[in-house]
């Protein structure tokens, strides 16, 4: 049986991290969630660099990517991911507060797979995240695992 691949959550705000994790667990996803606190960490994980040099070979099944983050923002992470032949296969869902057209446009232009706006209302938030999780982690067929 194939090991369940991880979900990479890239989010700088700890509160948002907590809420999202709660929502994900409520939706009864079995996948492990890796949390990166900013863009640099996210790329380190994805590129198996620095602290994550020895991470498991399989890439995450989906990346939930916040846009506004310190140091390196979500767009930059997305861009670098899509430039890498291996990483660009990983589905990316922009999960962010902003409905600004500029963010939308840029995200899709860079090749994001989905764009979800985090609602203020928690119930809605639970629902959205739950649906996301179920879709990307279970329903969606991820790209095949590439051997390192």
């Amino acid at each position: 049986m194939k090991q369940l691949r991880k979900i990479l959550l890239v989010e700088d705000n700890p509160n948002d991290v907590e809420l999202t994790m709660t929502a994900l667990s409520r939706s009864k996803l079995a996948n492990d969630v890796v949390v990166a606190r900013d863009g640099v960490e996210a790329l380190d994980y994805l590129f198996r660099r620095a602290a994550y040099a020895g991470r498991e070979p399989e890439n995450p099944v989906v990346v939930f990517l916040d846009v506004k983050m310190p140091k390196m923002d979500g767009m930059e992470v997305l861009r670098q991911m899509k430039e890498d032949s291996e990483l660009k296969l990983i589905p990316v869902v922009m999960l962010t507060s902003s409905r600004e057209e500029v963010d939308l446009m840029r995200s899709y232009q860079l090749g994001a797979n989905a764009y979800v706006v985090k609602p203020v209302g928690f119930q809605q938030f639970l629902e959205s995240v739950g649906q996301l999780g179920i879709f990307w982690a279970i329903l969606n067929v991820p790209p095949p695992v590439t051997q390192p």
């Binding site: 709660t22 902003s98 209302g121």
Partner: protein, 502 residues
């Protein structure tokens, strides 16, 4: 002017003619005088010739007589020749005399008489000579002849005397006439000269007057010319000044234009910067303001789950208030962001089919799950020029309002129609909902202005403000009419030929 000119010409002509006439007259008279004098001279000569001729005749007769006598006495041939010569001369003389006196009838008569009278005398001569030749010297016969001869000579002498006298009279008459004329001539001449002079003076005066007039006219003309030139010079200077001033103004305008353009440029840059700042602001608001709200709501929910059962009703209520406040703030932020975007975004003009748009919006605006009985009455709407997404926002706001505020009616009736005036389309959304008090009509389109509480009807009060903003940016107007409990009508206009702001 031409008339006086002709008159003047005639006058001058008349004057000159009159001036010359006496001269001609004088000339004529003088000429006549000279001719007459010449005539008289020839008459004098003539008279002398006549007299001479008469004398010659008398002499010739005398010579003839003497010759005869001499011959008679001496019988010498010599004297006979004398006589013959004399006789011939006498005949010659009378012939000539006849030719000379042809001008005067009396003289002609006298001459004829004379010729007639001479005949017997000559006959007597011949008789005497013939007798002498025949008979020699016969004193008695000859004395008889001589007496007869004397006798014959008397009338001859008388006639010649008359003729001479007459001739002399004629001469003196002519001479007197000439003298008389000679007397008259100077008088005539003087008079004529005076008249002529008078005419000349008159003509001169006319000319002088004319000259004076001309002079005056010339002076007046010169003066007028001078004035005119003066005026022209002045006018030219004025014009030059004007042109200079004009050019100056042009230059100033150019400078001002450049300055203006620069200012516009600067202002545009300022506005662009300002816009960018607003964008950044919106962006920031989007991300940074929403997150804490989300946290509030999220953790309040989690708290409620954590403390489920442990909290009193009041506590639960307090938590609910906190949560709903956070949600409300989220809505406000969303609405503000939309409102701001409506103001900042560029109006993308295109042809917008309002009917299609309204149909689309009607589908969207119905809350899913909500059972409603709504009668839609959508008239034929025109195609307009405008920004489709912005106009969609307008319809969304107006129609969702209509749907919302007719919630309490068993059957909601919502009417959408359009009509045109000269230069604009007037759209109307009429509902039979709860209406509003016209007292507050001024507040309707204000930002976050509401006429109902959130419990009655949800909403932040930004919808109509958005509508107004979009419509204004398209160059139109908004207004509303309503009656409490009976429904409301919302109107907006869009200009037909769209040269509203771009």
């Amino acid at each position: 002017m031409p008339r006086t000119y002709k008159l003047l010409n005639r006058k001058i002509l008349a004057g000159i003619t009159l001036a010359l006439t006496p001269l001609f007259v004088i000339g004529f008279l003088l000429l006549r005088n000279v001719l007459r004098q010449q005539a008289t001279v020839s008459w004098v000569t003539h008279t002398h010739e006549v007299l001479n001729q008469i004398d010659q005749l008398t002499d010739a007769l005398s010579d003839a007589e003497n010759g005869r006598r001499g011959y008679v006495i001496s019988g010498q041939e010599r004297y006979l020749n004398h006589h013959r010569i004399g006789r011939a001369r006498a005949l010659e003389a009378i012939r000539k005399l006849r030719g000379m006196v042809l001008d005067n009838s009396r003289q002609i008569h006298s001459c004829a008489d004379l010729a007639r009278l001479m005949v017997p005398r000559l006959e007597l001569f011949d008789e005497s000579i013939a007798h002498r030749q025949a008979h020699g010297l016969d004193v008695a016969a000859q004395t008889r002849f001589m007496e007869q001869g004397q006798f014959a000579m008397e009338p001859i002498r008388k006639v010649t005397g008359e003729m001479a006298e007459r001739e002399r009279n004629l001469l003196s008459t002519r001479e007197a006439a000439l003298a008389h004329e000679a007397e008259q001539t100077p008088r005539f001449t003087v008079v004529a000269a005076v008249i002529s002079l008078g005419m000349i003076v008159w003509v001169y005066m006319i000319l002088a007057k004319e000259n004076r007039r001309r002079r005056e006219a010339e002076i007046a003309l010169q003066s007028a010319n001078h004035q005119l030139e003066q005026k022209v010079t002045n006018r030219t200077m004025e014009l030059q000044n004007l042109v200079t001033a004009h050019k100056q103004a042009e230059r100033e305008i150019k400078v001002l234009n450049i300055q203006l353009e620069k200012r516009v440029h600067d202002r545009t840059i300022q506005l662009e910067v300002s816009n960018k700042e607003l964008e950044a602001f919106s962006y920031s608001v989007s991300h940074d303001l929403r997150a804490p709200l989300r946290h509030i709501d999220g953790f309040v929910s989690l708290l409620r789950e954590e403390t489920n059962g442990q909290l009193s009703a009041t506590s639960k209520r307090y938590l609910e208030v906190i949560a709903s406040s956070a949600r409300q703030m989220g809505e406000l932020i969303d609405d503000l962001l939309v409102f701001s975007r409506m103001g900042r975004a560029e109006v993308q003009r295109g042809r917008v089919d309002m009917n299609a748009l309204v149909t689309e919006v009607v589908k969207d605006v119905l809350t899913p799950g909500e059972e409603r009985q709504i009668e839609w009455d959508i008239a034929s709407l025109p195609e307009v020029s405008g920004d489709r997404s912005m106009l969609k926002q307008v319809w969304v706001n107006l129609l969702s309002n209509a749907v919302k505020y007719t919630r309490h009616r068993p059957v909601a009736r919502i009417q959408v129609r359009a009509e045109s005036s000269n230069e604009e389309w007037i759209f109307a959304v009429v509902d039979n909902g709860s209406g509003f008090d016209m007292k507050y009509v001024g507040k309707l389109f204000g930002v976050f202005q509401r006429l109902h509480s959130v419990e009655e009807f949800e909403g932040t009060g930004i919808g109509l403000a958005n509508v107004k903003r979009v419509v204004t940016r398209h160059g139109g107007r908004t207004w509303a009419e309503g009656k409490l409990g009976e429904g409301a009508s919302f109107f907006f206009t869009l200009p037909i030929n769209n040269e509203a702001e771009s």
